[in-house]
């Protein structure tokens, strides 16, 4: 009977469990969870603040998930060391477990750059976990003035979640635009305008230089008084366990399409990894929940002796604020062409290079965008489809008769 160990208990771990069990019903699975919660939907913490969900509904799987999959869940403990030679892990309390196959799903941690006087701020929070969220919820009042450092996905979802529950929200970011990791200037400007129309204030191109209690001085000299500080500058992949054991990696743990690390019988999945983005042909950390599940599932199948690859990963995000949605996927390689439609309510930008769709940014019109995403992932030559129609409206009609027959006349 094979012994499987999964370090971490997020969505990558859930994918790993389901991947293992799709092949091996017998082997023992032990999951080491630092958080005292069953696997939950991390991106839903802002929806929790917004009161659109609750702790129960935020659970990723049913209450019986671990029992159904015969998983031994060890909560409130973290792994301190992987002994790759001995094929065992050691926990923070000294307990050790042997494995035949190990998957590292350790996720990422908030990155806080050095800022003078940060230790003088009483109410400061990260926004990554349920526990962060519950602690933040404890201190906010209708009179709270909130300062959020970071106008990325985490900072802005936090702003949306807090909206209506606090007096004011100011978001600052060193980048000159909001959502700088996924939107270009024009798209970001539309999103920023919409956020501002909903009462969120911005200080862009600058960040906090120093704090003195509830007072922040920005690098550009602006001063902000606040009651609650949220630190959402960025995250760093948790790579130490695998790297200390001799595993390869850069900003993330290096993994193959089969989700193997450079160490025998050690796999990794999710936000702790760096892997191949086929849209830009580069290796990067893509901390995205769908990819985390797919990596975890792939790792699980392979750990159990099956054969799986996740070889069409791309960055992609679906995110909305106050009713305005945005879909982005892929990349904009240097020298790409752009197809654009834009008006007051929506923007569509498609990026094309070497007869392939490499990426897109869409705001305000989300109908059937998965057809575009599939074009990026399949790297379909655009000369083989009716792209003149497709770019106006995503539709199977423009994908050619053979494709349509395949997907509509048979099981896929």
């Amino acid at each position: 009977m094979k012994r499987y160990i999964i370090i971490g208990n997020g969505v990558a771990a859930a994918g790993c469990i389901e991947g293992i069990r799709s092949v091996d019903a017998e082997g023992s699975i032990t999951v080491i969870s630092a958080e005292n919660h069953p696997v939950y939907c991390r991106p839903l913490i802002s929806y929790y603040l917004e009161q659109k969900t609750d702790l129960k509904r935020m659970q990723y799987r049913a209450d019986s998930f671990y029992a159904d999959h015969h998983v031994n869940l060890v909560c409130g403990r973290s792994a301190a060391e992987i002994r790759a030679e001995e094929k065992e892990i050691v926990l923070d309390n000294g307990d050790s477990f042997s494995y035949d196959a190990l998957c590292c799903c350790t996720g990422s941690s908030p990155f806080v750059p050095p800022m003078t006087g940060l230790d003088t701020v009483e109410n400061k929070f990260s926004f990554m976990t349920i526990d962060d969220t519950l602690a933040l919820e404890q201190v906010i009042t209708p009179d709270s003035r909130v300062l959020i450092i970071g106008a990325g996905l985490i900072g802005l979802k936090c702003a949306e979640g807090l909206h209506g529950r606090v007096k004011s929200i100011t978001v600052c970011d060193l980048a000159p635009r909001v959502l700088s990791s996924i939107l270009d200037d024009k798209c970001a400007a539309m999103m920023q305008k919409h956020l501002e129309a909903n009462g969120i204030s911005f200080l862009l191109g600058t960040s906090a230089k120093e704090f003195s209690g509830n007072h922040a001085v920005m690098q550009n000299g602006a001063e902000v008084d606040f009651d609650v500080l949220v630190l959402a500058v960025g995250v760093r992949a948790n790579t130490a366990l695998v790297k200390n054991a001799g595993g390869a990696g850069g900003r993330g743990i290096a993994v193959s399409d089969a989700c193997e690390t450079s160490l025998p019988d050690i796999y990794a999945a999710g936000d702790c990894t760096e892997y191949h983005d086929i849209s830009s042909d580069t290796v990067k950390v893509m901390a995205l929940m769908p990819n985390a599940y797919m990596q975890g599932h792939t790792a699980g199948v392979n750990m159990a002796g099956g054969s799986a690859v996740f070889d069409n990963a791309i960055p992609m995000n679906s995110i909305g604020f106050f009713g305005l949605h945005c879909h982005t996927a892929g990349s904009q390689p240097e020298g790409c062409e752009m197809y654009e439609e834009a008006d007051e309510q929506h923007i569509k930008r498609l990026f094309i290079k070497d007869d392939r769709l490499t990426g897109f940014m869409l705001i305000g019109q989300m109908h059937r965008t998965g057809i575009y995403t599939a074009l990026i992932r399949s790297q379909t030559p655009l000369s083989s489809v009716d792209f003149a129609r497709l770019k106006i409206e995503p539709q199977l009609a423009a994908m050619g008769r053979a494709y349509r027959d395949k997907v509509l006349k048979g099981a896929v």
């Binding site: 991106p43 839903l44 797919m294 995000n317 059937r368 998965g370 057809i371 395949k406 509509l408 048979g410």
Partner: protein, 147 residues
């Protein structure tokens, strides 16, 4: 399993399947009251190709569904082959819309996602698009891997 397939040579392009779908999922008993004067958000879409051939597209109930794997709320599941959305858990992030290669998951007009669930959760009990198609251009049947 039984799935919905189209016989495009018989499709009239009348869009009645879209109306029947919207009605079946409206929870109402009177079609006129359910649909009159309203923008409909059907879970099936009629397309027209470059030669004027029409056909309806709805969820393929894929064997390896990317929407299930991608849902950030754990709200999409597959049981006995049927993919369904738990609307109590869906928060309307629309990741499923972003990843469905067939454009078969769509917004429901109130900001959350919806897709064909073969009318198994509504009063219809069997696909309303199939039942209501005037020319037999949508069928619900067992088929092999590919014809």
């Amino acid at each position: 399993m039984k799935r919905i397939y189209v016989r495009e040579e018989w499709c009239l392009g009348c869009h009645l399947c879209e109306y029947n779908c919207a009605f079946a999922n409206s929870g109402m008993t009177d079609m006129v009251k359910a649909l009159r004067g309203k923008t409909i958000y059907p879970r099936i879409q009629v397309e027209t190709d470059e030669n004027g051939v029409t056909y309806a597209v709805s969820c393929r109930h894929c064997k390896d569904p990317v929407c299930v794997k991608s849902c950030i709320a754990g709200a999409i599941s597959q049981k006995d082959g049927v993919i369904e959305i738990n609307h109590d858990k869906c928060v309307g992030c629309l990741t499923c819309v972003l990843v469905c290669p067939y454009g078969a998951v769509v917004e429901d007009g109130s900001g959350v996602a919806q897709k064909c669930e073969l009318c198994m959760k509504n009063a219809c009990g069997a696909p309303a698009c199939v039942k209501g198609c005037p020319n037999g251009a949508i069928v619900y049947e067992e088929r092999g891997e590919r014809e």
